[in-house]
Amino acid sequence: MANIKLELVNLRKEFGDLVAVDDVSIAIEESETMALLGPSGCGKSTILNMIVGLEAPTSGDILIDGKSVLNVPPGDRNIGLVFQDYAVFTHMTVRSNLAYGLKVRKMKQPEIDREIAKVSEFLSITHQLDRKPDELGASELQRVAIGRTLVTNPEILLLDEPLSNLEAAMRNQMRRELRRIQADTGQTIIYVTHDQIEALSLAHRIAVMDFGALQQYDTAHNVYQYPANRFVGSFLGNPPMNFLKGKLAEDGGRRVVTSGDSTIPLPAGNLGSDVSAGADVVVGVRPESLSLAAADDPGRFSVPVLAVEPQGPETVVTASFGDSSLKVIVPTGDPAVERDSIDLVPVSDLVALFDAESGVRLLDSGDRR
């Protein structure tokens, strides 16, 4: 395993009775990109503030390069933070904004000029150096904010919702830009975001948070394909994951989940020891993880069709599975969808099984990366 750059150890933050961050432990490797993903109010901004040092944790520890930084003031932690609203100093020119962190570090003027020239070229804001921030657009302001942080050469770069203030077209461009920055500088980067696309496209690893607690911390692939619980499954993916309520059963040596007339086969794997046949469970399967089955496919199952919505190259088919509804994406024009029921087969082992009550993943299967 590579160098651990930043480690959060049982980090906890309480505001009065409210537990904002509930014993979160995360380790981030050097030069890795991590996304803290969760709905608003899940505690991700609080974690960010604690890492930077703007807030002190109630308990737990924050280690950078193995050393606790709890007693180090924010300015000395060598962490860069880019705010969601960029927090550019509006009364200064772009140049003074970029120079601010260097002046604080008492760098000499010629050196400051050199560093600013370097970073402004890197972010292509050279021609805007003598402008005031109120003459710049949102994406340029963001470059200034990133530049102001990068110029101080931080060991860890934190970005709070970096794309949320940009319009759609700008977002794609900035996403490419951020990936380029990461590739060129080899920075350890932490993104805080509520946008799953942003997290999936930018981060090596994703920490999914809800109600202050860490739900899953894994690679982007694993978080998407093998959610640790029902929340993670539902939070990522569009259209969302299908959740099919049913009872666990055994059918000819194969584990299946049945509800009403429908039965879905489960992939092989280790089932939790306290789960037995007849238990109430929820199957989680993504719309794109199901495909139309050939007539002789052994893993196929049949469900009644409720609605068919062609959407250009793909068609979304809504079917029912017992009391639950099921969405599948199939190629447009397939004659199979014209019938009252369709035969489906799950792609490889991407079928998750959750406990109906707690939502915890029950079946340990699959090819994790």
């Binding site: 927090a87 509006t90 009364h91 601010y100 604080v104």
Partner: protein, 324 residues
């Protein structure tokens, strides 16, 4: 903005068609609504202003019997081509001294009010015990009538009054400072009264200004490693620039007009040690009845005030007018 310099506006106004007054046209409503105020302004402000300017150019005196006679006599006076102005600026040191004294007193008291007000406002950003009571208490002075403030401090500054008493306790020996009878001490007493009375306004404006400074730039500077002092000078103060300038403008206009308190404390004395421009004008006009001179003196003050206020507003004029 409509530009009618190049075309003379002829084509845009459509002179070909006859234009009639349409009482239902909504574009007349704003004009109609502000007309009463405009008339009031003309009667109460602009006409007296012009009259005052005319008087200041003459040697008019209000000794012509009944009102209409006195009024009409203004316009039969010989215009003396600014002799009053000339006299005031060259041969009346008392006037120039009063002007200078007003400037010194304004600058000292405004700076003190600003520093103390900002300091108190900074304290109020943190939580402390009894904050709400302190807040009310701190605002009280500016709600008291100037006459009451003047008379209260007049009593406090008596040579056998409470202030000498308190100084006596501190010095462990009787203190008998002649606060209101010594030139320098009287000047200090006036400034103390003024600062006590009006620091609350600065405190209030500075507090709202501090609260309006966006939080994230401060946090960003903290993360970049700036100290609290550095953040105060480089982030907080520049962000409060407009608020600070407006506070100075409002108080600057007020402090030039300062009258009641000085009149009650010292009547401009001892000698002319605390005679500010408004006291001088009062004495000139209503004790000596040299109204033409007083008119010229006041007009010079007005011009100076307008120029100064506009200079103070210059850095934020663009921001205020363009709304950015």
């Amino acid at each position: 903005m409509v530009t009618n310099t190049s075309t003379g506006g002829a084509s845009t106004l459509g002179l070909g068609k006859p234009r009639r007054f349409d009482p239902n046209d909504k574009k007349y409503i704003p004009g109609l609504l502000i007309t009463p105020v405009q008339i009031l302004l003309c009667v109460m402000l602009i006409f007296p202003f012009i009259l005052e300017f005319v008087i200041s150019m003459t040697e008019w005196q209000p000794i012509y019997g009944d009102f209409w006679l006195a009024f009409t006599s203004v316009f039969t006076q010989k215009i003396n081509q600014g002799i009053n102005y000339n006299y005031l600026v060259t041969d009346e040191p008392r006037y120039l001294q009063a002007l200078g004294r007003t400037v010194i007193m304004s600058v000292i008291s405004l700076c003190l009010e600003f520093v103390i007000g900002l300091g108190l406002a900074s304290l109020f950003l943190k939580k402390f015990w009894g904050k709400r009571i302190w807040f009310t208490a701190l605002l009280t002075p500016m709600m008291i009538m100037p006459v009451v403030v003047g008379y209260t401090w007049f009593m406090l500054f008596q040579y056998n009054g409470p202030i000498n008493q308190i100084f006596g306790w501190i010095a462990f020996s009787p203190v008998n400072l002649q606060w209101l009878n010594d030139g320098t001490l009287a000047f200090i007493a006036v400034i103390v009264t003024e600062v006590w009375h009006w620091t609350p306004l600065f405190f209030l404006i500075m507090l709202s200004g501090l609260n309006a400074v966006p939080e994230n730039p401060i946090r960003a500077a903290t993360v970049l490693g700036a100290s609290n002092v550095k953040i105060f000078w480089t982030i907080i103060l520049p962000n409060m620039r407009a608020v600070i300038i407006i506070a100075f403008v409002i108080r600057g206009m007020e402090v030039v007009k300062l009258f009641d308190e000085i009149y009650l404390l010292t009547r401009g004395g001892p000698g002319t040690a605390t005679e500010t421009i408004s006291l001088y004008l009062y004495k000139l006009a209503f004790e000596d009845f040299r109204l033409a001179y007083a008119g010229s003196a006041a007009f010079i003050v007005l011009v100076i005030t307008v120029v100064l206020i506009n200079m103070m507003l210059k850095p934020i004029r663009y921001q205020l007018v363009e709304g950015r």
